[in-house]
Symmetry: C2
Subunit: 424 residues, 2 copies
Amino acid sequence: MTQIEDAKKGVITKEMKHVSKIENIDIQKLVNLIANGKVVIPKNILHEIDGCGIGDGLTTKVNANIGSSSKLEDISLEVEKAKIAVKYGADAVMDLSTGEKLKEFRKEILNAVNVPIGTVPIYEAGVIAQNRSGSVLDITEDDIFNAIINQAKEGVDFMTLHCGINKELVSKLKDSNRAMGIVSRGGTFLAALINHTNQENPLYANYEYLLEIAYEYDITLSLGDGLRPGSLQDATDIPQIQELVNLGGLVKKAQDANVQVMVEGPGHVPYNQIAANMQIEKTICHGAPFYVLGPIVTDLAPGYDHITSAIGGTLAAVSGANFLCYVTPAEHLALPSLGDVKEGVIASKIAAQAADVAKGIESAWTKEKEMAKARNNFDWEKQFDLSFDSQRAAGYRLNCNIKDKDMCSMCGKYCAIKIAKDIE
Amino acid sequence: MTQIEDAKKGVITKEMKHVSKIENIDIQKLVNLIANGKVVIPKNILHEIDGCGIGDGLTTKVNANIGSSSKLEDISLEVEKAKIAVKYGADAVMDLSTGEKLKEFRKEILNAVNVPIGTVPIYEAGVIAQNRSGSVLDITEDDIFNAIINQAKEGVDFMTLHCGINKELVSKLKDSNRAMGIVSRGGTFLAALINHTNQENPLYANYEYLLEIAYEYDITLSLGDGLRPGSLQDATDIPQIQELVNLGGLVKKAQDANVQVMVEGPGHVPYNQIAANMQIEKTICHGAPFYVLGPIVTDLAPGYDHITSAIGGTLAAVSGANFLCYVTPAEHLALPSLGDVKEGVIASKIAAQAADVAKGIESAWTKEKEMAKARNNFDWEKQFDLSFDSQRAAGYRLNCNIKDKDMCSMCGKYCAIKIAKDIE
């Protein structure tokens, strides 16, 4: 039984109880949201985790991507990244490894942290094909489904699967005049495969089989946007929206088959197009949770893309996105370091909190009110406790080398709060 | 003659020509905007700078605050901060010094960078009063106007003056139930003075005299928001909006007296209240340029307030703000270091660019399109050239230690762009 099937039958699972409690949401309300496909709890039946709710009516969640590449493969480093991501508040971790040892790595990650783990199985299929015949063009249908089944058996909780990119879309893409073509790795693998074999995308052609596997392990499908824009000028174009329309149909099939499903979204989007992108996903994809990467609102800030995507992510979450995939300062340049992972998670947590405040979520406001009180009382320890990065905040204070409780190096003896108190 | 007086008479100044050229805006359109008070060009007649336009129809501008405090006073360090701020794109610099040597420092800053320099003269008045009698409560009307006149003669281009905080507002503040009271330093000085003397705010009572001084040197008034909120829960409350209403009246008087004027705004504002704050300033303050600090959209990120304010600043600029005051990672904790200044400027530049893209400003889009082209061509040098921080971006690439032009450590041999090109 999957969470959505249970919900439809009115059965309350352990995971639903957990989510209801930590989110402070009425259990019946939550059950209805899950039954209607508006909330998912990604948790493979074989994976021992508490469970985390993603979707409407809940706080905004943050995912951190980690994993090796063919140029950088250090298992202990990547495990450390997963731990740091969770320490700073990541609600889920995706393993995007494409190195040789991707299987060993996945096993370590699944045991290292108590959060849902996501993967992109087409990567494993690509690595297998590359090793076998020297080209990802030789990915077979079996490679793809074997990777999915193996990962399902290992306990992966959610999987990015680019089921919506089909022959028709790929053939039309040539006329689209995009500046950047396809920038999704999974999307490119599948487009290359379609072009090479002149056959349909196996994930699209055999979607019902995929649903059977997902149902068996209660894997949450994360329908990938293979045609997401790679630059601002490609945003919200016909290929992107046509793929979203395809995904809308696939969402319905999954929900009807009692498979939990969410949808992935862009990417690089001008700020003024973000709200429309979020709203259209909700209408086309039957209210399924929206999982966005960024969106990045300018391409001029490599080295600072955690900031460009915190800007886009806040507006996205306010406008309907439920799950923010972090972007680190290393994006577009390199695999992130431990420090980059931390910066990326914190930037996304800031976006999530800002959005939750804007949406009036009570738990978000409670913390804000506590911070105002701590500031007004010059209670530095409490301020640090409430901070996303207590250590960094405390470090600034420590460097000031000022003993007076009601003073910092910024205002010195002319502190507004202190003077205002003195008047009273 | 001031810029606004010239514009009303149809006289085109050297500064207008400069702004028209760098902003690629029709000169007659610009002259009309200045005549109507919708654009200002802050430039003291005694200060040799090119001039910079701030207001509707122009790109979003960024200000960097620097300056000593009573606890940290190092002239050469602060001059270096001003230079770094301008290097990374600050369009103006404010000297907020409150240390003993604030006069010497101001002179150095005025000569160090070719951008408009702003000050908060009440700080100098406060330091003088403190030195004379040990308390900022002893600020006199003469202290304030002497500071303004002296700074005018030295060539300061724009001045933050909290003219709108009057006896009535201060008396009502007690009933407002604010979490944080007053957090503007200038606002607190004046509120303390009003309470101490039971007299009206000299800047409010003698506003016509202030206009005469501003007119003589063509100083742009930046009407300060002494009652800006200090926490999210205080945002957009009655004291804040009542002060804005006062400022609206003062804007009209300044524009009628041929004095350039802009208005300062919050502060700490929940994301869902930002657009309303921008729109109400435009209607109440006769279209005067809006100069905002942040806004910060969550208080839980000390050490990362450059990010919280880049999020708020983007939405503010999209909704009508014209001038973003940077916030550094050190905000609420300490005076910023050189590195903090750089981070603060870049975060604000990102917000400004994202907003200008959203507003469809052509020069902003041109750079975005060039970046997409450079990325698609694996032209790394061009990517770095177009970046807000070329050195940081290049550093990531360098650390990858990868020679292949079409590869980075993130995707290794599985680069989407490369595979997509291979298909073609």
